[in-house]
């Protein structure tokens, strides 16, 4: 590890921290339906869209009404995207002349983008037409992110409101989040990216003549615009197959730093939005601290593992001074690559600037761990916040009992109904990830897709299902995922990981909203102090860690312990 490496990391973290308050305050205004900085620009569009929807559909909804609207909206998004992908061959905006996408792949990709996963079982520049990229994928990049943020707003309102069964209106929330947060943010970011050298064009490719005189066709397209929303919305689906390791998606160390900032910014800032809306910003800072502690811990381990180099390669005479450089871009190095890997899996982004497959066992273990902890530190836009609040509810329940009261979080009593729903949500992750992994581990069809045997192959499998269920979308690239088995099961995993999780969480929000908000007394333990922060960290690690420890032991931990022996598979 080097001082320069740490300086790069601290610089980006400082940028993220600096944007928490202004961005958090802005989003609180957006959720509250107030006038914002962007109102002069987008106000008329907003009014026009909402007027077109009709006044009758814009009243406050119950949690169930809200959730049904969200499901309907996402179902429509799925159908639209599936249709575009299948029909791209006959639709305009196809200068490359690509054929329609195969059914399984289209199914997988449509679910993938609707659920904010953006798992790519395809190579973008060789499969998707410009229309598919812009009207299909990029649109869902906006809408899946807006959906997540709207759901976070519902969870916050659950805590903030007192004795009301209304949690807001989905159509209003999704419209406002898109117009006031994601759209302006993406436009600004895309322009900065263009200035920093990322292409933005409708040309399909340019031809270049290499030094040897060979003719090379270099794929191009509207990259900068898709790059911006892919990061801001923690989507992660790259324009190119190599994702952010591709020089057109991520040309320099500066764009790399900016990309990491962009994928962390909204999720961290939402904690402040939460604090403001519940009327106590300290509550938001406590949640932010929990996220920062776990994120930093994983970052230290990953950077340490990558900076040390691979002893097996060192023994063959490779210079270890730059760290483990296999699968990494020289312009980023081990610090920025480890940071990107940790940030992209701590959120639900899943874009990569290096190949996680080639990380050292512990370096690759950290992204896997972060996904399995539920992507809540800080997690995807919106989904991270409501995910960590569910954990906070479980924490408060146990801790509250320990001080001799029916547990309360922010004045809301945590009772049987909330526990039932919280446990239901918590079950989705291990059931889906471990269930599919265990079946795949015994299925020859599935095993044929693995590039490696032994513990590393197991990690590839675990990672694929974790990434899908967690709606992350990054891959341990050794897995050939475009087979009917993986397209189908990963698609189901993505669906369960998003909607199987979200429905009970929304029910919790609805149940909390309907409760009166009790005032705190000396008998209620404070949920903004270091004790609570430490406790939530412990619950996340113990609850998440215990579920997956045996699988980890056979995967990355075994692989790590095997390195000194030189045993390979």
């Amino acid at each position: 590890m080097t001082v320069f490496g740490w300086l790069q990391i601290l610089f980006v973290l400082a940028l993220v921290l600096a944007s928490v308050v202004p961005l958090g305050r802005h989003m609180a205004r957006v959720f509250a339906g107030e006038r914002t900085f962007f109102s002069p620009a987008v106000g008329s569009i907003e009014r026009g869209l909402l007027a077109a929807a009709g006044r009758s559909s814009l009243g406050p909804q119950t949690w169930l009404g809200y959730t049904l609207a969200m499901m309907a909206f996402n179902a429509a998004g799925f159908v639209l995207l599936y249709a575009i992908l299948r029909l791209q061959g006959v639709l305009p905006g196809n200068p490359q002349g690509f054929a329609g996408v195969e059914p399984w792949l289209a199914f997988n990709t449509a679910i993938s983008f609707v659920t904010n996963t953006n798992w790519q079982a395809y190579g973008g520049e060789t499969t998707m037409s410009h229309l598919s990229q812009m009207a299909g994928l990029t649109v869902q990049n906006f809408l899946s992110a807006a959906t997540g943020m709207a759901l976070a707003a519902v969870m916050i309102r659950g805590f903030a409101s007192s004795g009301s069964d209304r949690v807001g209106n989905f159509w209003v929330d999704v419209t406002r989040v898109t117009l006031h947060v994601l759209l302006p943010g993406s436009i600004v970011l895309a322009l900065i990216f263009v200035a920093l050298g990322i292409p933005q064009t409708l040309l399909a490719s340019v031809d270049a003549t290499t030094l040897e005189g060979a003719k090379q066709t270099i794929a191009l397209g509207p990259v900068a615009s898709q790059e911006a929303i892919k990061l801001l919305g923690t989507n992660g689906g790259g324009f190119f197959n190599a994702n952010a390791a591709h020089p057109f998606e991520n040309p320099t160390a500066i764009t790399n730093a900016l990309e990491i900032w962009a994928l962390l910014a909204i999720s961290f800032a939402l904690t402040h939005t939460f604090g403001r809306m519940v009327g106590d910003t300290r509550q938001g800072w406590a949640i932010l601290t929990v996220m920062a502690i776990i994120l930093s811990g994983c970052l230290v381990v990953a950077y340490w593992a990558e900076a040390g180099g691979n002893p097996l390669l060192t023994a063959l005479g490779v210079d270890p001074s730059l760290g483990n450089m296999e699968g990494k871009e020289v312009r980023f190095g081990s610090a920025a690559s480890a940071f990107y890997a940790v940030a992209t899996t701590a959120t639900s982004t899943g874009s990569v600037d290096a190949m996680h497959e080639s990380f050292m066992p512990l370096g690759g273990f950290m992204p896997l761990l972060l996904i399995k902890l539920g992507e809540i530190v800080p997690g995807g836009v919106g989904s991270g916040l409501f995910g960590i609040l569910v954990i906070a509810v479980v924490t408060v329940f146990v801790a509250g009992l320990m001080v001799g009261r029916t547990p309360e979080y922010l004045g809301k009593k945590i009772e049987a109904r909330e526990m039932k729903l919280a446990m239901l949500a918590q079950l989705i992750l291990p059931a889906t990830i471990l269930g599919f992994t265990a079946v795949a581990a015994l299925l020859p069809t599935a095993l044929a897709s693995l590039a490696n045997a032994g513990p590393h192959g197991l990690t590839e499998l675990l990672y694929a299902y974790a990434s899908a269920t967690g709606n992350n979308g990054s891959a341990f690239a050794g897995l050939s995922a475009d087979t009917p088995w993986f397209d189908a099961t990963l698609g189901i995993a993505m669906f369960l990981g998003r909607f199987g999780y979200v429905v009970p969480v929304m029910a919790i929000a609805g149940s909390l909203a309907a409760k009166p908000r009790a005032v705190a007394s000396a008998g209620t333990f404070p949920t903004h102090g270091p004790l609570f922060v430490g406790l939530v960290v412990a619950v996340i690690l113990i609850l998440g860690g215990l579920q997956f420890f045996p699988a980890f032991a056979l995967g990355p931990i075994a692989e790590h312990l095997l390195i000194p022996t030189g045993r390979t598979f």
Binding site: L401, T406, M419, M423, A438, A538
Partner: protein, 685 residues
């Protein structure tokens, strides 16, 4: 103040109870009963599976019968230990119920023939034949046949059968002391009682049912915790079942007993096994405090109380006002006034009267003039509102200021200025002024004061530290109420309170999301008792009050509300702390079992075996044995409850996290290692 528990509380490990509990532990293996406790039910099912595997080993001569057999045995022990914990907790209640049941034996009742309390013609019937609204005659020496309300007469009643207190109490028709309880004995006089409870649903029947736990249902919080525990059990079930496939990929062979051992050590058997014992023991602690809760829900609610409504009289102050100061008008010496007050009160048996005598005797050193016994005492009447004495030609009267002024025929404005000042000062200090006149002339005032109980201020400070507000309820005027409130250190007060005011106050607090506890005894308290989240009715109170509350205090001591709150908190804390302990234990168990499972496949995973256990089999067996024994080890803690200290929530959480969280992480490392040494030494695995 001492109280006598209903039945001598059995010691924690009474021989009789232990024997009965051991027997019950086997009866409770019935899966239909065990299914109510999902964690232990799962343990029983897998114990059965391992037993079948063991049988197969023995029959086919394959596998590892010695190892599988031991695992099966310890899994059964785990279930039995959990059953035993519950049975011990129930056993203590059963012993108390037996003592109560003796008082319920069939008695004879004198049922009046005509529905007229004045007509004492009656026939003798069994108490079991009584119906609601029957009238029965109960005379000295008779046992009251069933719960009822005195409609005629007054009697002294021995209620020791239910309260343990042998001093008789007065029960009379009308007013707040009209309720009588079946099974208690009339000592003197005769009363006519209207039966208010059918046989089988009397107060004693309800008490028996409650202490036996027959009516026990899961309380809301217990339910929420059970859901958490079931959820964790399901999650670990997924972890272990899928491990079969994942281990198969890795080329590791794991047998069913080993996977089951991992499952049972991971699921929260410790708290799962002790959960119902904790709940039963909580009710039991209340009963030993002579408080009967009508449901476990009420005990839990007590732990959550935010606001206590306390009646001033009897709770915050001694029931009576006491004379603390003599304030003669100018021209009357202190001694002369003290002597006049003494003479006027000499034959006055009220507490106020006796306190005047004591003050004159003690503080002023005045002794009774000779022959005062012969004075003619003028008793207090509702008309004159004066009392006093005529003695040796002197005529002395004392009473409320307005009554005395009317007696001497002047208005307050014409009373001496010093007297007016004295009256004013007394009122402002929260006292009651008593005027004294002699021969038609005002001679001074006596300061009667509500004396605040000596340690009550500290109690309220404790409550404040627990996060509980105290509100004093009094019929006094606001000035007096404010003075007493500040002296006692309560957070708020309701002056000139009517029952409607109390009800309104409770409702407004509840609207703000607060939980309220109160106690009361009168019929007019009933609506407020019913509205409060915790309503403690006094055993001495009316039937209506006892029906409205969700707890009955057999000692009729309103300060006990504070202990009730502490018991409720203790119950929740014990659950929370043992849950934390149970989950924290899992970390060490993983470090014991996971390397043992896979070390044959990847010898390098031996690095995770931080405890250095003797062999893989010994590691697994030791973890299972630890998991079973810890339940037994924690039974005393579950029954006694963990100590509650009023130190504020953050400090309490820090302490309990340190003991049960950090302790729960560390202890199993030591315990499993110790068991492993023993297992290896005995060549068990």
């Amino acid at each position: 103040m001492s109280h006598h528990p209903i039945a001598a509380a059995p010691s924690l490990f009474d021989r009789g109870i232990l024997t009965r509990a051991t027997f019950d532990a086997f009866l409770k293996l019935d899966p239909r009963r065990l299914v109510r406790n999902p964690v232990i039910f799962v343990t029983e099912v897998v114990a059965l599976v391992v037993t079948l595997v063991f049988a197969e080993d023995v029959v086919t001569g394959s596998g590892a019968p010695a190892f599988d057999g031991q695992i099966a045995a310890w899994l059964w022990f785990t279930v039995l230990f959990a059953n035993f914990a519950e049975a011990v907790a129930e056993g203590r209640g059963k012993a108390q119920a037996d003592a109560l049941r003796k008082t319920r034996s069939d008695t004879l009742a004198k049922r009046l023939l005509f529905d007229d309390p004045e007509d004492s013609a009656h026939s003798v019937v069994s108490s079991l034949e009584l119906e609601l609204d029957d009238l029965v005659l109960v005379e000295a020496g008779d046992v009251i046949p069933a719960d009822g309300e005195v409609v005629r007469g007054v009697a002294s009643v021995n209620e020791s059968a239910i309260t343990g207190e042998s001093a008789p109490v007065i029960r009379e028709s009308g007013g707040d002391r009209s309720a009588v309880t079946g099974g208690t004995t009339v000592l003197s006089d005769r009363i006519v009682v209207r039966i208010t409870a059918a046989p089988g649903s009397t107060f004693i029947d309800r008490m028996i049912a409650l202490v036996e736990g027959a009516e026990r249902q899961k309380t809301p919080n217990e339910l929420a915790l059970s859901i958490l525990l079931s959820g964790l059990t399901l999650i670990f079930l997924i972890t272990v079942v899928t491990l079969w496939g994942i281990a198969g990929y890795s080329g590791a062979t794991v047998t069913v007993p080993v996977l089951i051992a991992l499952l049972v050590t991971l699921i929260p058997t410790t708290i799962g096994g002790l959960l119902s014992a904790i709940g039963i023991a909580g009710m039991d602690r209340l009963i030993r405090f002579n408080v009967i809760a009508t449901s476990g829900r009420a005990v839990e609610a007590a732990g959550d109380v935010d606001t206590l409504l306390l009646d001033k009289t009897g709770t915050i102050t001694f029931g009576n006002r006491l004379a603390t100061e003599f304030l003669p008008v100018p021209g009357i010496t202190a001694e002369a006034f003290a002597e006049a007050a003494l003479v006027a009160s000499h034959a006055d048996e009220t507490p106020e009267g006796r306190s005047i005598v004591a003050l004159a005797n003690g503080h002023h050193g005045v002794v009774e003039p000779a022959g005062v016994e012969g004075a003619s005492f003028v008793p207090f009447t509702a008309q004159t509102r004066l009392s006093g004495a005529d003695f040796a030609g002197r005529s002395i009267r004392k009473g409320a200021v307005d009554a005395v002024l009317r007696h001497v025929g002047i208005g307050l404005d014409r009373a001496p200025a010093a007297f007016r000042d004295a009256v004013d000062r007394i009122a402002r200090a929260g006292g009651t002024p008593l005027a004294v006149c002699e021969a038609g002339r005002l001679i001074g005032a006596i300061h009667l004061k509500d004396v605040v109980k000596p340690d009550i201020k500290e109690r309220f400070a404790e409550l404040r530290a627990m996060g509980i507000r105290t509100v004093m309820v009094t019929g006094d005027n606001p000035v007096t109420a404010a003075a007493i409130a500040s002296e006692a250190g309560v957070d708020d007060f309701i002056a000139e309170a009517t029952p409607q005011d109390k009800l309104a106050y409770i409702r407004s607090e509840q609207r703000h999301g607060r939980l309220i506890a109160m106690c009361g005894d009168g019929t007019n308290d009933a609506p407020a008792l019913a509205q409060a989240d915790v309503g403690v009715a006094m055993q001495s109170g009316t039937q209506a009050a006892r029906e409205a509350g969700n707890m009955v205090d057999l000692d009729s001591n309103p300060t006990k509300l504070i202990e009730v709150v502490a018991i409720g908190k203790q119950l929740l804390m014990t659950r929370g702390s043992l849950t934390t302990f149970s989950i924290a234990n899992d970390v060490a168990k993983y470090f014991a079992i996971v390397p043992a499972l896979f070390v044959a496949t990847y010898p390098e995973l031996g690095a995770l075996d931080v405890m250095g256990l003797a062999s893989p089999e010994s590691a697994i067996l030791s973890a299972v044995i630890f998991n079973a024994l810890i339940i037994v080890a924690l039974i005393p803690l579950a029954l006694k409850g963990i100590a509650y200290r009023p130190v504020g929530a953050a400090a309490l959480l820090r302490r309990n996290l340190l003991v049960y969280g950090v302790g729960g992480l560390a202890l199993p490392f030591v315990g499993i290692k110790a068991i492993d040494l023993l297992v290896a030494a005995l060549h068990l695995a």
